[in-house]
């Protein structure tokens, strides 16, 4: 059994997810969104990772970045290791690919800030 808090709306229903004979059963939700949220959280929880990488020759010292889409939750720290090791040279535009495939997820890491040359 897993306990979760639904984030679908401010209500924040306390959810309980039971696994019975290979089937998931959700309790505590008060709408279908709660059930969908609980299933996703148990089967394949995903998150967007945001951080910064070093940037050289630009108007700022740090370039903000994010994974282009959600990545599996268990890859978050592997993703952070690669982000910490990365660095780029200015100029960079929003959407530029910084790492093509972060932590073997197939998802690229992209810039979220425009940084011109200093």
């Amino acid at each position: 059994m897993r306990e979760l808090t639904c984030i679908g709306c401010p209500l924040g229903c306390p959810l309980r997810v039971f696994e019975e004979a290979g089937q998931l059963r959700v309790e505590g939700n008060t709408c279908p969104r709660g059930e969908a949220y609980a299933r996703n959280e148990v089967l394949c929880p995903k998150r967007t990772v945001t951080s910064t990488v070093a940037i050289h020759g630009g108007t700022v010292n740090r370039l903000s970045v994010r994974t282009q889409t959600d990545i599996p939750k268990e890859k978050i720290f592997a993703c952070m290791e690669q982000i910490k090791a990365a660095s780029v040279d200015a100029p960079v535009k929003i959407g530029d690919v910084i790492l093509p495939d972060v932590a073997g997820t197939g998802v690229p890491l992209i810039a979220t800030k425009n940084v011109p040359k200093a």
Binding site: T52, A54, K73, M80
Partner: protein, 417 residues
């Protein structure tokens, strides 16, 4: 002295949206004054995602959200001054600012939009006993040091206050390799968004201690630890519940205060609850031609609503500049029975738009209540809410057609069944 049609003070999300909207409503001569060396305001350091779901129907990070508005402002060729700190404004709408290029300069405006945002409540406002070692930061300062300057802020962290910035920083510091030991919240509920509690604390197993506060600071040169204690219903520490946490960093996320030092010199009526000026349904203060929007008016939790509110202020300021504004009598919009405040605080029933959005916050966590709107003492609206929390801003949209004429008063309150 040079005169501009419209001067917008602040180039963050509110100022940008207001300036754009005024330009699109026909005001050519707009000037934005921004004290930072870039536009975008606080969004520049909010590198997490979750912005823009309402405005752009997609999830953006803060810098991406800001960049969309900055790009629009540049397309419209809206002039702005960076590194320009406004030091005073007057009822005659004379703006005094200082900047490297202009030195001490004065400009006059036909209309002014206040979009200065807010500041964090500092340690000094909390009366935490103890010495003053390094390592105690407001959450937003830590966010700036980490995300803009690229410094590591600390390795073992305790966070006081469960506001959204504190929660976001709990995750951010964890990702950067710090150990966030606990988030303590004085109130019996969190002031942050549910989504942030789940994705910033639960995801990383960071405990949230409600009804707890910091009662002692340890360390001389650098922070070495803090003592937490549980508080009673009067928010007083309970003896015997003290617990010591070793840490080198304490982040304070204990509330935001609209930054209205400039506004006060205008002698406009201020709200004690919001900390911002009182405004009518045009978002105009009681000094004609001076409008306010965004966090300087009242602290928001979603930037999307800031942009929406600011666009309204911009449109109305444009009408004022173009002499299309008719100001009539106003009636009060009052908050009552669990509703702490409303924005706007008054409404011009004869000249109001067809619909007016009234935003408000509630005083406590409530379950199964009705948001009720009374017009001249008669209830005209009753909206069921399963849950209401102080951390989540609420709104009702008043339609001109449903308001009694002649309108005398509007009251918004919470009621039980």
């Amino acid at each position: 002295m040079r005169t501009h049609d419209l001067i917008v003070i602040g180039g963050g999300p509110a100022g940008l949206a207001a300036a754009l909207s005024a330009r699109r409503a026909g005001v050519q001569d707009v000037l934005i004054l921004e004290r930072d060396h870039v536009l975008g305001g606080i969004l520049n350091q909010c590198i997490h995602n979750g912005f823009g779901l309402h405005t752009f129907k997609e999830e953006l990070t803060g810098p991406e959200y800001a960049a969309r508005f900055i790009a629009q402002a540049q397309e419209e060729n809206i002039p702005y001054r960076l590194g320009a700190t406004v030091i005073s404004i007057s009822r005659e709408k004379i703006v005094t600012y200082v900047s490297r290029e202009d030195g001490l300069a004065q400009v006059r405006a036909k209309a002014l939009i206040l979009a200065m945002g807010c500041r964090e409540r500092p340690r000094g406002a909390l009366n935490i006993p103890g010495s003053r070692p390094a390592g105690i930061f407001s959450a937003g300062t830590a966010q700036h040091l980490m995300n803009i300057e690229g410094y590591g802020v600390g390795k073992e962290v305790v966070i006081l206050g469960s506001g959204d910035i504190g929660l976001i920083m709990a995750r951010r510091m964890t990702l950067e390799g710090a150990k966030v030991k606990v988030v303590a919240e004085l109130m019996p509920y969190s002031g942050g968004l549910k989504r942030n509690i789940v994705q910033c604390l639960d995801d990383f197993g960071i405990p949230l201690k409600l009804s707890h506060t910091v009662v002692e600071i340890h360390g001389r040169e650098r922070l070495t630890g803090v003592t937490l204690a549980q508080v009673d219903e009067n928010r007083r520490p309970i003896a015997g519940t003290e617990e010591c946490y070793a840490c080198d960093t304490l982040l304070l996320s204990v509330g935001l205060l609209p930054e209205n030092e400039l506004t006060r010199a205008l002698n406009v009526k201020m709200s004690r609850v919001t900390g911002g000026p009182e405004v009518d349904d045009r978002l105009q203060t009681d000094c004609e031609g001076v409008f306010a929007c965004g966090n300087v008016l009242h602290v928001h939790d979603l930037v999307d609503y800031v942009s929406e509110e600011a666009a309204l202020a911009g449109k109305n300021a444009a009408a004022c500049v173009l002499s299309q504004q008719t100001v009539g009598r106003t009636v009060p919009v009052t908050a009552d029975g669990g509703v702490r405040y409303t924005v706007p605080q008054r409404l011009d029933p004869d000249n109001m738009a067809d619909s007016v959005t009234v935003r408000f916050r509630v005083a406590d966590v409530y379950r199964d209540r009705f948001v009720c709107v009374y017009c001249n003492g008669e209830r005209i609206r009753r909206i069921k809410k399963r849950v209401l929390a102080p951390g989540e801003m609420e709104q009702v949209i008043l339609k001109k057609s449903e308001l009694a004429q002649p309108l005398e008063s509007i009251r918004i309150c919470l009621e039980v069944e």
